[in-house]
């Protein structure tokens, strides 16, 4: 783990308290940053070409540069750190909060200096209880040590809604409303929280900022797969793999290397069937593309996305219809209901996938499903529906023979042998529960 930068120093044991973080040079970069003019810090971020680790891969320095300077606006300037990690297969931000919480705090304070903000919100998903405790204690410790200066850091707990990881939904939720997305423009950099300029960054992105300052932007920009995919990445390896875990690696290693060399390959003598790549919001990868490098451009050329660094391995016991159905049920459950194509489309896809799984669909339903996907993508305020459409469409397209086999077989050809057989979705539980209480 010599590549560890974001998790640097925490390879063996977590750096939860201030003393242990200071022992590895913690908060030195904050002092360095505060000695620079704010614009210079943004310039360093631009030079490093650090990009957003939440999924959209937007250049971090450029995003910060969109924030107007305080003298040009009559409102406060806010930072909102997105710690609402809920994308299926993503568990890296949790690892950061548990292992290097002070590096996240240091990143917040450097970002606050860069855009001249004195109020930072960290929106942490409601289910993360231990993570909240650890992070809050780091904030308290930093505050007691006088490191916060004029800056307030408020750790705000969500209450269970995947959509609140979408930046404008997060703002709605933080303002005390239902967590529903808003139309853009205006973009949050101009009109965000309380209609004031707001910088929104993912936990990993913010935590990488002290690293960029420490190694220097020019050196950082040489790590990984420059010029676009610089630096390291916390890959979330899970599923049917011998050694699942969070692995911090430079961008640009192959998918095969991560799965086989680092992850120990597919266990139990099974073979790899597909990879949920980038997260549940993107097309699934087929084995013929395993040599694709894990950087945005290499993946993009093959129609994949790096997303939030998810690499979830599916072995040959996986029924891809069940997989698409379970992912579809997730999106149906999490759709906020604001935009019709998403609200209706996610439900329709679940119904169709269930009919395929039961063997009661017809061949024409495959094209109908793809048509529904097409009518969701790009037609809503946010990409929740698009995410569902992208992964479902990739399953229908790439595994059409397996889908067809369900119809020929009059049901799932795996019988009860699929690894996902009988997987219960919370959306079903709600329906079942309504029957119980009625």
């Amino acid at each position: 783990m010599s590549e560890a930068l974001v998790l640097g120093g925490a390879e063996e044991s977590p750096l939860r308290d201030l003393a242990s973080y200071r022992a590895v040079g913690g908060y030195a970069q904050l002092l360095k940053a505060r000695a620079m003019p704010p614009q210079e810090v943004i310039a360093l971020l631009i030079e490093s070409n650090l990009r957003g680790r939440g999924g959209a891969f937007f250049p971090t320095g450029r995003k910060a540069s969109f924030i107007p300077s305080p003298e040009k606006v009559a409102k406060p300037i806010y930072i909102t750190v997105n710690a609402d990690e809920s994308e299926p297969g993503t568990f890296k931000d949790r690892e950061i909060m548990l292992r290097v919480p002070h590096r996240l705090v240091e990143g917040c304070l450097i970002a606050a200096h860069a855009i001249q903000s004195d109020f930072v919100f960290i929106y942490i998903r409601g289910e993360y209880s231990t993570e909240y405790d650890v992070l809050q204690s780091a904030v308290d410790e930093a505050s007691a040590a006088g490191l916060l200066g004029d800056v307030t850091i408020l750790v705000h707990r969500g209450a269970g809604a995947y959509i609140c990881g979408e930046e404008t939904a997060l703002l709605s939720s933080l303002e005390g409303e239902r967590g529903q997305p808003r139309s853009k423009p205006p973009f949050p950099a101009i009109e965000g929280l309380y209609a004031a300029p707001t910088l929104i960054n993912n936990v990993e992105t913010i935590t990488t900022i002290p690293v960029v300052l420490e190694v220097g932007p020019a050196e950082y920009a040489k790590i990984g797969a420059p010029p676009d995919s610089t630096g390291t990445r916390l890959f979330c390896l899970s599923g049917n793999v011998a050694r699942p875990g969070v692995y911090e690696l430079p961008h640009g290693l192959t998918t095969r290397h991560l799965i086989e060399e680092i992850g120990g390959g597919v266990p139990d003598g099974r073979s790899l069937k597909a990879v949920m790549m980038g997260g549940s919001s993107f097309p699934v990868m087929t084995p013929d593309d395993l040599d694709t490098k894990l950087d945005a451009n290499s993946l993009g050329q093959k129609g994949y996305f790096i997303g939030s660094g998810v690499v979830c391995v599916l072995d040959d016991r996986t029924c891809m219809v069940q997989f698409a159905l379970r992912v579809g049920q997730f999106y149906m459950h999490e759709s906020c209901g604001k935009c019709t194509p998403c609200r209706v489309g996610t439900r329709w896809l679940v119904q169709m996938l269930r009919a395929v799984e039961n063997g009661t669909a017809s061949e024409s339903d495959f094209d109908l499903a793809l048509d529904v996907c097409d009518r969701i993508i790009g037609k809503c305020l946010c990409v929740l529906g698009d995410s569902d459409a992208m992964i479902v469409a990739s399953c229908v397209t790439k595994f059409r023979d397996e889908f067809r086999a369900h119809l020929e077989h009059g049901g799932c050809p795996f019988g009860h042998d699929s690894s996902l057989d009988g997987l219960f979705a919370p959306s079903d539980q709600h329906a079942a529960h309504r029957e119980v209480v009625a």
Binding site: P76, E85, S86, E87, P88, G89, T90, F91, R94, F119, G126, E127, Y128, S129, T130, L154, H156, R157, G158, A159, G160, A161, S173, L174, E175, G176, E177, R178, Y194, C236, L237, S238, G239, N240, P244, V246, M276, C312, V313, D315, T318, F323, R326, V327, H333, C336, S419, L420, D421, G422, L423, F424, A425, P426, Q429, H430, A432, H433, V436, V437
Partner: protein
């Protein structure tokens, strides 16, 4: 400190008090175990919001309960990453041992069982949140001991 005082203290930390609705609802739920109509009204009163507004917000989120639940909650992740390595067997083991379906509470009011979406612990499946604290790498064989432990708490 009364619930109202606690909520108003938290609200002062935010630039606008309405932002404190999620922490306020959480405080109310911690106090009463679930959000009754009265609890919702109390939150509304403390934040100067109508009960209808508070309910519309609360109902958007999965972590709030609108009916009494068990003294303990068991939430099993059943998204695909845990599912690939047999989360369903873990859930079924809880169902069998407790003799209830997901979404239900045992007759003695002790335990509520739920299936939940990805909890973000995919490298140590199956993840089970017991009273909101994660247990990692739970197998069906672990279930009886977990229940024994809960019944003694």
């Amino acid at each position: 400190m009364s619930l109202t005082d606690e909520i108003q203290k938290v609200a002062k930390r935010y630039p606008e008090s309405k932002s404190a609705i999620l922490p306020a609802l959480r405080l109310a739920q911690d106090e009463y175990g679930w959000l009754s109509r009265e609890a919702i009204e109390e939150v509304g009163e403390a934040l100067d919001l109508t009960p209808a507004y508070c309910m519309s917000v609360a109902s958007f989120y999965d972590l709030f309960n609108f009916e009494p639940i068990g003294r303990h909650t068991i939430e099993v992740c059943t998204n695909v990453c845990c599912g690939l390595v047999n989360a369903q067997a873990v859930l079924e083991s809880f169902e069998r041992e407790l003799d209830i379906a997901p979404g239900e509470t045992t007759a003695d009011g002790e335990i509520t069982l739920r299936a939940v979406e990805c909890l973000g612990g995919c490298s140590t499946p199956t993840i089970v949140a017991i009273d909101q604290r994660y247990r990692q790498s739970v197998t069906p064989e672990d279930v009886p001991a977990i229940l024994e432990e809960l019944r003694n708490v």
